[in-house]
């Protein structure tokens, strides 16, 4: 048993729902009690999908248990087929039905419906949402993919694998990457799950290779297609300018095409915006990154190589991809935090006191509490993560979006300089929020930050003068000054921090 206050991922059948909701022509009959229908609102409210997810729940009750839950499943499956006339039926169980062991696959097949039945077993007491999505997609690919029928030669062609419902900007990423592939002269054979019908999935092997946009969802299917149909797949996720260039090179090699000049890095505004003088203030901003593995690994590279930040910590809730995230962490000389407990994340953020947090909606809340600017880079999603405007994360346009959305919560360059110069002036209070954000970002008083991190300050006391002097240091480096001074004092066993300690520490760390 695990004490859980909040969870980054839902149960695995929600992952299956994300796949079928993205597709066309598949209906999911889920053996589940009535409360599990809450999952519909994720799609209709958060993503504002205009149609209900194609899911029928059996909604068995206590009085059905031991009696005829299997019969209930059969009639639900039969009725769902009659009503929705799907091209294929997906069947499975949620956590409760898993315990009563009715075998949805066997029951559905016994109905002899005129369409294929795909059964997915998603162990609800071991696995989570992304795993469930990957497994469901893989089972559907296995069920439908047929050997290649397209003759060799002709324009190069690929599949786009991974985009699905409730994904972080999947809708816009697909559009951006399809455009990019087109510019390379590569056709998109099938995009799946999003928008694909079972009939489309039969044609997967007609492509020359696969583009895996979201490994969390598409990798398992891609490696099966490689093993069985010799379709190679891309390893780079094109988030950021550098990764987009690598992706273009990878695709060009797989497709055997030359890269046109129009696809150089000049396609993005990010490189120049990062070099322009206003961005000087971004240098070595301390950033903490948390989210799914794909977005975290990509964000760390962008933060370091393309924004000139310093990555002070990163982590993921995707245990399946812990290795990739640990490898990335090594490149930045930090320890990866692999956890699905947001309290662990909160204490890491509190301890590191970064100047910017890149995370999920949960990190946005954590950062808000701690008064730290934050941009959202990864699922789990919130209604705000489905903006009305075109807002991809991938490709060159995606890099533009990332530059804007990461810089937005921060003080603008000139503004920050003014505050440093005029910090004694009451109108330039160090506690002011960035002017373009109104009152949205409020700095927490230092005392609260201390209280949130009590272990640090139990022994070392700041003298009143030192505390006052610390207050004169611009707030955006004040946290770092406080931390450095305290560890300096600790190393030397000083019980009280005086003004001298403060400046000794400053000199020490300046070396």
């Amino acid at each position: 048993m695990q004490l859980t206050l909040w969870t980054y991922e839902g149960p695995p059948h929600v992952g299956a729902m994300r796949v079928v909701t993205a597709m066309r022509g598949v209906h999911y009959v889920l053996h589940a009690p009535q409360g599990d229908t809450y999952a519909d609102l994720l799609f209709t409210m958060i993503e504002r999908r205009a149609a209900r997810p194609p899911v029928t729940y059996t909604t068995f009750q206590a009085r059905d248990l031991g009696g005829d839950t299997a019969e209930l499943f059969k009639s639900a499956a039969r009725d769902a087929y009659e009503r929705f006339r799907p091209q294929a039926l997906l069947v499975g169980a949620s956590c409760t039905a898993e315990l009563i062991q009715d075998d949805p696959g066997g029951l559905a097949r016994a109905l002899n419906l005129p369409v294929p039945v795909v059964a997915v077993e998603l162990p609800a007491y071991q696995k989570k949402e992304n795993w469930g999505a990957a497994e469901t997609f893989y089972q559907l690919v296995r069920a439908f993919a047929k050997p290649r029928t397209r003759p060799a030669g002709g324009r190069p062609s690929c599949n786009i694998l991974g985009p699905c419902a409730l994904g972080f900007r999947h809708r816009d990423d697909v559009r951006e990457i399809t455009k990019l592939l087109g510019a390379l002269g590569v056709d998109v054979n099938v995009t799946a799950p999003e928008g694909a019908a079972p009939a489309d999935m039969t044609r997967l092997a007609d492509a020359d290779f696969n583009v895996v946009l979201y490994p969390e969802i598409g990798m398992q299917a891609a490696s099966w297609l490689q093993r069985n149909f010799q379709l190679p797949y891309t390893k780079t996720v094109p988030i950021g300018v550098g990764a987009t260039q690598d992706f273009i090179a990878e695709v060009a090699a797989l497709a055997g095409v030359a890269v046109p000049d129009s696809l150089s890095a000049a396609g993005s505004n990010l490189p120049w915006y990062s070099r322009s003088v206003d961005s000087t203030y971004l240098t070595n901003k301390r950033v903490f990154i948390f989210g799914d593995a794909t977005h975290v690994v990509a964000a760390a590279r962008i933060a370091s190589e393309e924004m000139g930040f310093e990555v002070v910590g990163l982590g993921t809730y995707s245990r399946e991809f812990a290795r990739e995230v640990r490898d990335a962490a090594k490149r930045y000389g930090v320890d990866a935090l692999i956890t699905d407990d947001y309290l662990d994340v909160e204490s890491r953020v509190t301890e590191l006191r970064p100047e910017l947090v890149l995370g999920t909606q949960m990190e946005r809340n954590i950062a808000k509490r701690l008064g730290i600017p934050c941009a959202v880079i990864s699922a789990p999603v919130h209604v705000q993560d489905f903006p009305a405007r075109y807002s991809p994360q991938m490709g060159y346009e995606g890099a533009n979006v990332l530059f804007d959305s990461w810089v937005h919560p921060l003080m603008m360059g000139l503004e920050e300089h003014l505050i440093t110069m005029f910090r004694e002036d009451f109108e330039f209070s160090a506690d002011a929020a960035p002017s373009h954000l109104g009152g949205a970002v409020k700095k927490l008083p230092e005392t609260i930050l201390q209280a949130a991190n009590p272990a640090k300050d139990t022994e070392r006391r700041w003298s009143a003068e030192a505390e006052a002097e610390l207050g004169k240091i611009p707030f955006f480096v004040r946290g770092k000054a406080r931390r450095n001074t305290e560890s300096f004092a600790q190393e030397r066993g000083l019980a009280t921090i005086t003004i001298d300690t403060l400046y000794d520490a400053k000199a020490h760390y300046a070396r």
């Binding site: 048993m1 695990q2 004490l3 909604t59 206590a62 315990l99 009563i100």
Partner: protein
């Protein structure tokens, strides 16, 4: 003082046929009640013993994200627990100890059963007893079921309050009569009712649930109870078993419902008619004036209720009698005839009532009827809007103060706003 109520001649729809459906139910389970109960009882903590689905349901229903550390959590059962029950109990003890160490201010802990805990027959009542022994007097541990196989949406509150009844202090026979108002209400509503009762001269009034568990009211043979919510069958039964008398009344929604509800108490406490009038008249007039404005916007509009909170019947009575709306279908997850008799008597004779659900068939009926507004759960709202049917999310009716005189026009506004929005938008 019964002249305050213009009961229509005839029996309303007491004898009307009810369509009973047994198909897919598109409703939350009883765990959802935790979302408002944990705000209401401020020193209580709700620990669901369940699966990741249960945890995900509550956080999704709670508005997707949490902004302060909430007073609810889930002990997620994993494979190891499924291997053997003794192990699961030890695990639960460990999780509870971990939780209480984190939250020393908690005085009352509810272990909330879920479908998985019930299917594996984890005995939470024994666990609660054992844990109470360990943690009393600091923390009392109780249990109830919020599982989807046993409870629908608001029935979770019923189960929670019913679990409190056995530990309510006993008031011996022969005490002065006291009034117990049962059902979670917003504080602003509670305070208004308290003032209203005081103005009538009813001083011994308490509320279940209390704001703090340590202030649990007493109950005895001289307790009379008014139900403030229509979904409290088990709680009422448990209170009756402890001697309380149930005052049958419509529920306090709208001017008429509130008056009838207050009047039931007034009658029981022998409040003179003049005093009742003095206490209620100004509020009644204010409510009526405000509702007259809302009625202009809503009269004649056709409304369809999907089954959800069991508030559907009282709401239907309010919108039809006080706002002049036309009832297309009134669905309810359960029809408790006992508590609903006064409501049924007030509903128009021809009302189409349905109990239970087969969501696809009900959607067919809704599409065919094309009501002006449909009251439904969050999963159905946007799909119906996309089909051109204006909706009101029913969960808002649980989170918004809607009971009593001063809230009557707010309640009307909940229906008026989506309609107004639709007429405003030109795109």
């Amino acid at each position: 003082m019964s002249a305050t109520l213009q009961v229509p001649t005839g029996t309303g729809c007491l004898d009307a046929p009810v369509l009973r459906e047994r198909g897919q139910r598109e409703v939350f389970c009883g765990l959802t009640g935790i979302v408002w109960l944990h705000r209401k009882i401020q020193d209580a903590f709700f620990l669901v013993v369940g699966s990741r689905t249960c945890a995900h349901l509550i956080q999704s229903a709670a508005g997707v994200m949490i902004f302060a550390e909430p007073r609810f959590a889930t002990a997620i059962i994993d494979e190891r627990d499924l291997a053997g029950l003794a192990d699961a109990n030890d695990e639960l003890d460990r999780v509870v100890a971990q939780l209480l160490a984190r939250r020393p201010e908690i005085k009352l802990l509810f272990l909330v059963g879920s479908c998985p805990s019930e299917v594996i027959k984890l005995d939470l009542s024994r666990a609660a007893e054992r844990l109470s022994q360990t943690h009393m007097p600091d923390v009392r541990v109780l249990n109830y079921s919020g599982s989807g196989i046993e409870t629908t949406f608001t029935q979770g509150e019923d189960a929670c309050l019913a679990a409190l009844v056995p530990i309510m202090p006993r008031i011996a026979a022969g005490a002065q009569p006291s009034l117990l108002v049962v059902g979670a209400l917003a504080e602003v509503v509670e305070d208004q009712f308290r003032r209203m009762f005081a103005a009538m001269g009813i001083e011994r009034v308490s509320f279940l649930p209390p704001r703090r568990s340590v202030d649990l009211p007493g109950v005895g043979p001289d307790t009379v109870m008014l139900l403030a919510q229509p979904f409290l069958a088990d709680t009422a039964r448990a209170l009756e078993a402890r001697g309380a008398t149930h005052l049958s009344a419509p529920f306090p929604l709208g001017e008429e419902g509130t008056t009838a509800w207050l009047h039931a108490a007034a009658e029981s406490f022998g409040v003179p008619a003049a005093r009742f009038a003095m206490a209620t008249d100004p509020s009644r007039q204010r409510a009526s004036a405000a509702l007259a404005v809302a009625q202009k916007k809503l009269a004649g509009k056709r409304i369809f209720f999907f089954p959800d909170s069991q508030l559907e019947l009282p709401l239907a009575r309010f919108v039809s009698r006080e706002l002049g709306m036309k009832l297309v279908e009134v669905g309810t997850p359960y029809l408790h005839r006992d508590h609903m008799t006064p409501e049924l008597a007030l509903l128009p004779q021809s009302t189409f009532l349905s109990e239970g659900q087969d969501v696809d068939r009900q959607l067919d009926r809704c599409r065919a009827a094309r009501p002006d507004i449909a009251v439904c759960g969050l999963g159905l709202a946007n799909p119906l809007e996309a089909e051109g049917i204006t909706t009101k999310w029913s969960i808002e009716l649980l989170f918004t103060p809607i009971q009593g005189y001063n809230q009557a026009s707010d309640l009307a506004e909940l229906f008026a706003r989506p309609l107004l929005r639709r007429t405003k938008l030109a795109v």
